[in-house]
Amino acid sequence: MPDGDTRNVLEVNNLRTVFGTRSGEVHAVNSVSFHVKPGELLGVVGESGSGKSVTMMSLIGLLPSPPADVREGEVLLDGEDLLKVTPDRLRDVRGGEVGFIFQDPMTSLNPVFTVGYQIMEPVRRHMGLNKKQAKARAIELLELVGIPGAAGRLSDYPHQFSGGMRQRVMIAIALACDPKVLIADEPTTALDVTIQAQILEIVEDLRAKLGMAIIWITHDLGVIAGIADRVAVMYAGQIVEHAPVFPLFNDPRHPYTRALLKTIPTVSGERAAKLQVIEGQPPMLGAAPTACPFRDRCPLVFDRCHAENPLRADVGDGHDVACFHPLAHTAKEAVA
């Protein structure tokens, strides 16, 4: 749980990212705003293609440009706008102040360098340590993420590690320079439940120990429920609902969030005869949104949804939602 610090380490306002492709533009991120405080864990959920990864990569300029183009917005890291800084400064931020963990541990490590080398790289780059110090730091990091016999494994290559261990190495790399913000882009999706449990355990420990802000992207609501303080739900490049974790699960206001929560079966409780589904497909992001992106799949759709794109509006207790439907702001059960 966040402590008393109310300052935002990272604040994102109105971020818009567009891809220019041969068949026209793809508006992958549209006016996204969010913030995190030190020690806080912000969960980001949403289905595939909803723009979660693109949002996070836009923050520290990891998207190749072209085709990506961050059109608008501010990314304030401790008040410094990352979209305006020099490339050099941005490189200092990456890995130094912002750590990034990627989804696929199998391909995210360079296969031809030893694990030790890859961990030491950011340490030497950002903390200016010499070889020996860097090595000590690497061992420390590997122990931190729970790899037994850390010293001996520095000279191993990634392929000699199992998937779970590789993901731990990725975490170690992201943590290497004690970042202020850690962005984890679906770090456990490729892993088994038992390994996922191990990783979650580690991250929770680390958060307690290091007190950094974490942005955790996933589409597994179960994971979010377990670790997040606040949750942002993304749909078609926009944040459609944002709330602390309890209200979100107990009182989802956006029809999409509600539907999403319904679709997932559980290992306990009663078993539904039939799984709930969200019919239809997400929209193509060919142009900047002018109407509610969820309108084609929404059971509560009405005229206004076709004419206007709802803005996020606060419904109290740090809970905001982007929906016109009157029920969205009050009612608990509206979706059939």
Partner: protein, 326 residues
């Protein structure tokens, strides 16, 4: 559990997605299902590739010149010597000048192009067929891999010149007897070049087949009960098309040049039978006096190779439905 996207096609996905959503919404009429020839799609995609279109235009122009050129150009002038018009420079009458026997270079270029292109294309086709066949067999059937790859090594290690000499010795008489001198030697040269240049293709194809074999759609075909033969033709071959395409591009160049070397050694076509390679070869000694004589055939060979290369690029993209969506 993300939708594992092919890294090549982040956008391709979305088009499908839109179309799909439209269909789900019932917006799309159900009528357009009449099977539209897939070659139209290929053509549509091909058309958008600028380099490929320019390449195709150049190649077709050369091809047209060579094929229908004889209808407009006096081909006799390229065959018969004319002592009054020796070593003429470029002029209206002789667009590329004449050679030392007074033969019209333009007509000779056209005649040479017919042979060179025919040899290049067929020899390349033959070497591709051989290379692909051996590559696929070696890659797909484990038992054949060892022997076939040794065979490939063997061919790679063989000295080509003596091999060609033997082939010519053994087969020239029977072939010319059976098909006449021109066709006979054509067959001989094409097979000689084909047989000695398939190895690279075979290796590349084999590598790709080895990887493809492990792909799930091959397993899926097996689970359906598709026999190996058809798995190869239906699933493996279309997917090794692009490396084959690359080999094809380079193969034509090699074939045209090898043909010139063969002519040079007296193993090729009869001497009064111009080919680009031979013209180039004959022109080189006169490089200082009459640069055009070597330049034109050289340019023709380079142009063909370049244009085919770009066409190959475009075709490769066009044949790949994943790229086609773009």
């Amino acid at each position: 559990m993300t939708d594992a996207r092919d890294p090549l096609t982040p956008v391709g996905n979305d088009i499908g997605v839109v179309a799909a959503s439209a269909a789900v919404a019932g917006a799309e009429p159900l009528l357009i299902t009449a099977a539209r020839s897939q070659w139209w799609d290929v053509w549509d995609q091909f058309r958008t590739h600028k380099g490929a279109m320019v390449g195709a235009a150049i190649f077709l122009a050369i091809l047209a010149l060579v094929v229908i050129g004889p209808l407009f150009v006096d081909m006799e002038a390229g065959i018969k010597s004319d002592m009054r018009a020796r070593n003429e420079p470029m002029s209206l009458e002789y667009p590329l000048g004449t050679d030392r026997l007074g033969r019209d270079m333009f007509a000779r270029m056209i005649a040479g192009g017919r042979v060179s292109l025919a040899v290049g294309l067929t020899a390349m086709a033959l070497s591709l067929v051989l290379g692909t066949l051996i590559g696929v067999l070696a890659g797909y059937f484990k038992g054949l891999d060892g022997p076939l790859m040794r065979l490939t090594d063997l061919f790679l290690a063989l000295p080509l010149l003596p091999l060609l000499l033997v082939m010519v010795l053994l087969f020239r008489e029977p072939l010319t007897a059976a098909f006449g001198i021109e066709v006979g030697i054509f067959i001989l040269i094409v097979s000689a070049i084909g047989i000695t240049s398939w190895m690279q293709t075979a290796r590349i194809v084999r590598g790709d087949v080895l990887a493809l074999k492990e792909r799930e759609f091959v397993l899926a075909a097996r689970s359906i009960g598709t026999p190996s033969r058809r798995i190869v033709t239906r699933h493996i071959l279309p997917n090794v098309l692009s490396p084959i395409m690359v080999s094809a591009t380079l193969g034509i160049a090699t074939a045209i040049i090898t043909e010139s070397a063969l002519s040079f050694l007296g193993l090729g076509f009869p001497p009064d039978f111009p080919t680009w390679g031979r013209l180039l070869n004959d022109g080189v000694p006169f490089l200082e006096l009459y640069p055009g004589r070597a330049f034109w055939p050289g340019l023709a060979i380079s142009l063909v190779v370049l244009s085919i290369n770009y066409v190959g690029d475009g075709l490769r993209d066009a044949l790949d439905p994943r790229i086609r969506g773009r």
